[in-house]
């Protein structure tokens, strides 16, 4: 009789830069939750034509040697495993409208009042969940929003946050059952230097569906309101 392969896997974890920062300030880690991801896995390697049968469809993936974890963990957190009903045929997705071009929202002179973006959840039959969406602006000094700010982040989004932006990253939320959620983005008008860019990540809380787009602030001059009419004498 052979030994059964244990289902418990031991992983040596490393503190992220945020974790180190907390400890260096005398704080506690207070770990309370976890997520798992499949970063580095390419499901096109799932080989349904494997000659040895279905048990071997994932052989190429399972034999994949993995890389060590990086303290810049945000860089590799690209995907997250999510929980859906077993009979789900598709993964919910977020579709954005209001962008100026595909995956890009560009502010030109005259747009200093802001532009509206609509996030629509596709492929998901909501059963009353009203937690809505959250979105993350990597650098709020380039673009701000009228949505409710919820917290600052250190790397909980689906893609990396540039290290130097970590202190600036801000998460905002829009509640409601959807499937449409609106929010406005307003370009910064303090530092008028065309071409400044940042990324915005939109995540549906319940399903984990996400998408992202780039914001380009091309404002070079302000459109100021006239405060008073000119008078004579």
């Amino acid at each position: 009789m052979g030994y059964l392969d244990g289902t418990s896997v031991t992983v040596d974890a490393v503190l992220t830069k945020k974790g180190r920062q907390i400890l260096s300030k005398g704080g506690q880690l207070n770990i309370s939750s976890f997520t798992v991801s499949d970063t580095g896995v390419d499901y096109t390697l799932w080989n349904t034509a494997h000659p040895s049968g279905s048990a071997f469809y994932g052989e190429a993936i399972e034999n994949l040697p993995m890389l060590e974890a990086s303290v810049h963990a945000e860089y590799s957190l690209r995907n997250r495993l999510v929980t859906l009903s077993q009979n789900s045929m598709a993964i919910p997705a977020i579709e954005l409208s209001g962008l100026t071009t595909a995956n890009k929202l560009t502010f030109e002179d005259g747009d200093s009042g802001g532009l509206k973006v609509v996030a629509t959840l596709k492929g998901f039959a909501n059963t009353g969940d009203s937690s809505g969406i959250y979105f993350v602006i990597q650098d709020p000094s380039i673009v701000r929003t009228n949505a409710k700010a919820s917290r600052t982040l250190s790397g909980t989004t689906r893609t990396f946050l540039r290290e130097q932006d970590i202190p600036n990253v801000q998460e905002y939320s829009v509640v409601g059952t959807g499937p449409d959620w609106n929010f406005s983005l307003i370009p910064d008008t303090e530092l008028l230097k065309a071409g400044r860019q940042t990324n915005v990540y939109v995540v549906h809380k319940a399903t984990g569906a996400y998408t992202s787009f780039t914001v380009v602030n091309n404002l070079t001059r302000l459109t100021r309101n006239t405060l008073s009419n000119s008078t004579k004498g």
Binding site: A13, K18, P65, M66, T83, L84, I91
Partner: protein
């Protein structure tokens, strides 16, 4: 089926999803990770004259700027240093009293060190070389904090000294501690063990017979009785005792010291010279380990059968409708876990771990990933 795109909660109550352990990890002490520093490689670190009045650095000759240890000489009466005809306090007296105030209980500080006449044994050692009272001469070998880490590893160390006129041992005085046999003595700076004749924790002559010094593992300090050392390795008798010690001079390989106090005789260098061995018997060495307490928290991340069987990975789906890429996965999706992220209560990702190989997950399987976080 519940829908969950959010984090999976952990019960951080000790013994539930979290277990905290503290492991003692020992390693080599030396900066080059070698197990020992041998006589031929021992040299002194270059220090300013004002520092060398008080102490010297012991270094590896291949890295002479990196101090592995510090050595100081103390004399209760200020002998061997410059007291300017008793107008000032000699640096050797300062060293003695500095270590006395640091290591001894408040009631013993002014009384000085009783090493040779060991005050932690039930009776005075039978072959004590100090006939009465305290030790007036001490040598202090102190370790570097960065190298000893949390503490010096007791028992697993050996210090070999060699010089002229070594008696009664054949050529070398080899020292270790007696922690393997005797309980520690409590002191204001933690446990204290006796330094006795022996090696790597194996005692050759018990402290009840002869005690050469005390070791304080928690602060990485060893205090030696100058009288006991000079009884074993007196060095060349006569005029050399009253000479200023020169590094590695064959005339100054011994612990016999002057009773003068008109200048700095650099007596600490005598300890270094005996580490470099005699010209006929080059056997001196320093062999130590350090200790580090590593606290590790282990989190059991339990992923139930119905959880995490779908992925946001762009290769998991295809087409504009985001359908599962493989029809064989419809009704039985399979994912692969490669990474676990741990979050604090604020939602900050504070730790991350990668699996060595992808872990298969589907509706027919549960996974428990034990994430070990050491800090």
């Amino acid at each position: 089926m519940a829908i969950a795109g959010t984090n999976i909660p952990l019960n951080s109550t000790e013994g539930e999803d979290k277990i905290t352990t503290t492991d003692k990890v020992t390693s080599t002490y030396l900066s080059d990770s070698a197990t020992q520093l041998l006589a031929t490689s021992i040299t002194t670190q270059s220090l300013s004259d004002s520092n060398e009045t008080y102490y010297y650095g012991i270094a590896n000759s291949s890295t002479p700027t990196v101090a592995e240890f510090n050595i100081a000489y103390g004399n209760y009466n200020g002998k061997g240093g410059n007291s300017n005809s008793d107008k000032i306090k000699s640096p050797t007296e300062v060293i003695y009293k500095q270590w006395a105030s640091l290591l001894l209980p408040p009631t013993e500080v002014t009384g000085g060190f009783f090493i040779s006449r060991n005050n932690s044994t039930s009776a005075v050692p039978t072959e004590a070389r100090v006939s009465s009272g305290k030790d007036n001469e001490i040598y202090v070998l102190s370790t570097r904090r960065t190298l000893m880490k949390d503490r010096l590893n007791k028992k697993n160390w050996t210090l070999a000294l060699s010089g002229s006129h070594v008696v009664p041992l054949s050529g070398t005085l080899v020292l270790t501690d007696d922690s393997v046999n005797d309980a520690a003595t409590a002191t204001p700076v933690g446990d204290r063990y006796n330094i006795v004749s022996g090696s790597d924790g194996t005692v050759h002559t018990e402290a009840s017979v002869r005690t050469f010094g005390f070791v304080y593992p928690d602060i990485g300090v060893m205090i030696f009785s100058g009288t006991e050392l000079s009884a074993s390795i007196p060095g060349t008798s006569g005029a050399p005792i009253n000479q200023v010690t020169a590094f590695n001079s064959s005339s100054h390989k011994g612990f016999g010291t002057t009773s003068n106090e008109d200048k700095d005789y650099k007596n600490a260098l005598r300890f270094v010279n005996c580490l470099t061995g005699s010209s006929n018997n080059n056997v001196g060495k320093l062999k130590f380990r350090n200790e580090e307490d590593q606290v590790s928290a282990q989190y059991f991340c339990r992923i139930k059968s119905g959880h995490c069987n779908f992925s946001n990975n762009p290769t998991f789906v295809s087409g504009s409708l985001n359908e599962l890429r493989h029809t064989t996965m419809k009704g039985n999706p399979t994912t692969y876990i490669t990474q676990v992220q741990l979050y604090n209560t604020n939602g900050d990702m504070v730790a991350v771990g990668n699996l060595s190989t992808p872990l298969k997950k589907n509706f027919s399987s549960e996974a428990t990933v034990k994430v070990k976080l050491t800090y």
